[in-house]
Symmetry: C2
Subunit: 419 residues, 2 copies
């Protein structure tokens, strides 16, 4: 019989006992942040569970990792601690276990309605890196900007291309995004113009949260890279295409990206996603030995983007994609990142890059969906080439189990006009 919680969880919920994603919340605006897991419509306050002495396994007993303001200390402890915490929490929340179920006082203290609390960025992010791992996205962007001959750069099939992103402007789902101002360039020899971005876009991504790091100068083997990844979140890598197009030669994206990046509040662990592992795409050419994995896997995670245009009550689905479309795996990304000796630290964020699938309905950003504005989208009467002020963009994602979902909730943000 499937594992079941004493807490009533709707079959469509993203947060059954099989998931138990980690986040950080404030019960009151003035409270200090506390680690939690999501269960149904509730958050389970892990500081209360720890203070009650219920993390009684050999690794977590007496640890203060859940008495911190973020999850960094816990994610740094590595997979044995994660597995122990998961086992403890699944037991504690199960329908057959009386410890929490029958303790009204502890339930009262530790279970809080998610709708009543503020969710925060759950980790202190030292460095944020963004990869470019979807072949379909690389091909579409290359075709749009450089034409259909050799749209994918020569290096792309040999290494998971990435750039360093901006950590300071990563915000939690629900945070408004102010339309950035900056320079754009019309064409030819005209001088650049300055003003609010006219090509504001979303990018459908996911991001890995790094667990234990590595020392400077000591690369991580690709076959051990999985032990350095705690879990995944949804990520919207908001992009100003006009700013990006003018600034990015020769040093890459900068102000076209750094005005804001939104992540979902719940980190779904790789352990919870393991039932949804699937083969990664076959790689041709064969990657170099440092990227050649014994087991090369992706995860089957259905992803969806909705836009709620300004002034409308309803949102419209604009794309349906899947994490499994990624060409380069998470473990290859992490191994590549460290092959030069670069050190990762617990809580670092590794974005996948835009996750586009092969069909036009699965493209992961408006640049691709509208082919750089040439084919506007129809949204329940409104049309869009790029995002307008007041538009809200809502990502969701989940893996479908047998009678349950392992989901990420939503990752949303609304565009405010430039000041």
């Amino acid at each position: 019989m499937a594992l079941k919680s004493f807490i009533d969880v709707h079959p469509d919920s993203h947060f059954p006992i099989q998931n138990l994603p980690y986040g950080v919340f404030k019960p009151q605006p003035s409270s200090p942040p506390r680690p939690a897991v999501a269960i149904g419509d509730y958050v389970l306050d892990l500081s209360e569970i720890a203070l009650a002495g219920l993390f009684d396994g050999p690794i977590l007993k007496g640890s203060d990792c859940f008495l911190q303001l973020n999850l960094n200390k816990f994610v740094a402890m590595g997979r044995p601690a994660w597995k122990e915490a998961r086992a403890t929490l699944q037991k504690l929340l199960s329908s057959t276990e009386p410890t929490l179920r029958d303790n009204a006082s502890l339930r009262q203290k530790s279970l809080v309605l998610m709708s009543k609390v503020e969710l925060l960025v759950p980790i202190a992010i030292g460095d944020y890196t963004d990869f470019f791992s979807s072949m379909h996205h690389a091909k579409n962007c290359g075709t749009i900007f450089r034409g259909p001959q050799n749209p994918i750069p020569a290096n792309w099939f040999h290494l998971p291309i990435a750039y360093h992103g901006r950590a300071s402007s990563i915000v939690i789902s629900g945070t408004d995004i102010v339309r950035p101002r900056g320079q754009g360039h019309p064409t030819g020899n005209s001088p650049p113009y300055f003003g609010p971005s006219m090509k504001l876009d979303f990018e459908l991504e996911m991001a890995a949260v790094v667990g234990p790091g590595n020392e400077l100068g000591k690369p991580v083997d690709v076959n051990e890279a999985g032990d350095h990844i705690f879990g995944l979140v949804l990520m919207n890598d908001w992009s100003a295409r006009d700013i990006q197009a003018w600034e990015y030669v020769p040093l890459g994206p900068f102000l076209g990206k750094s005005f804001g990046t939104t992540i979902s509040p719940w980190i779904v662990t790789l352990d919870a996603l393991e039932p949804f592992a699937c083969d990664a795409p076959k790689q041709d050419p064969q990657p170099l030995p440092y990227l050649a994995e014994k087991i090369s896997k992706n995860y089957d995670i259905s992803l969806e983007v909705q836009i709620k245009p300004t002034g409308q009550e309803d949102s419209t689905v604009v794309t349906r994609s899947n994490f499994k479309h990624l060409y380069w795996t998470l473990t290859q990304q992490l191994a590549h990142h460290t092959i030069n000796g670069c050190n990762l630290r617990p809580g670092d964020l590794l974005g996948t890059g835009t996750i586009s699938g092969p069909e036009p309905e699965s493209y992961g950003c408006l640049l691709e969906l509208t082919w750089n504005g040439q084919k506007p989208l129809s949204l329940n009467g409104a049309t869009r080439k790029f995002l307008e002020d007041g538009d809200e963009v809502i990502f969701s994602g989940f893996s479908k189990g047998d009678g349950y979902n392992v989901g990420f909730g939503t990752c949303s943000g609304k565009i405010l006009p430039s000041h």
Copy 2:
């Protein structure tokens, strides 16, 4: 009469009472880090000065900003606090002030020989950004890689180009640098190779330490940007040219840079550098209004790079440059960085990019000095196209005052072979 300290400071010292740069040190390997200023051959332990109640001005009285493990809290306080601290310390260290001079016990506790202590990265660096602000460097790189027709990209004269760098691998002067491994690409359609970088280079840079930050969505006006900059350090942006050349299209430098970046331990404040301010180069075309400053200034800071080749006792000067060659000013860099709403945080680091002057003897990296290996350098009998294992690279920099220097000390690192 010039300000003079009761501590004997050699006229060639970089650290007279006119300078008082800030750093962080450990008196013993097991001690917690403490903020300090450099004075002659000594460090003055600011935690002891604070505990003795000698910061008695209206802003710093009772503050715990010097009882921290890094300088972030102090730099976040802004220019009024910096000016008050400087006035307090210049008075305390002056030859005519008895408070510290005549207090043997406090001198004993607070003044430690610099040669006896370990200096640390003095700030927690949330984000590190690297600009590309020397026209000579941009021109030389463009000529080497794309030929002499239009070597400088069209956007370069309109905005201070930059990319996000890697914060985790920033290390303090004296830290060995392990030669990175990675992919390179010979030419044409050959497959990439993998191995230790064969084109390891230094880049002569300086970097600004951000003081007070700005809120996400709220740009900093270029005419107020100076109040957000605490001071400057020397920086070596070590670069693996073969890795960089293969990976950087289309998203910019990544593993060719992220294996290590070295900074000098002492942050020289803009207040100490003010006597050496000079006009910035005239900008043509006129920058857009958000980059047009009422006062556009650089600093006259002489910079020098020496290489001590492996096996040699002596080092050889390979370049002499100057901070004043930069085309884009620090304040323009900072204003541009925030114009899209990107938030800076106290302790963020903004690198200038390689500081090359107009003459070949003033080029700021081996790529330029040896013209991508075509003209090897002669170093006291040895020759170098790029750095070899065991080579040590030593930067120094100072501004020459009337009878004193305001200097940065050195920023050095030695290359270790790949593992």
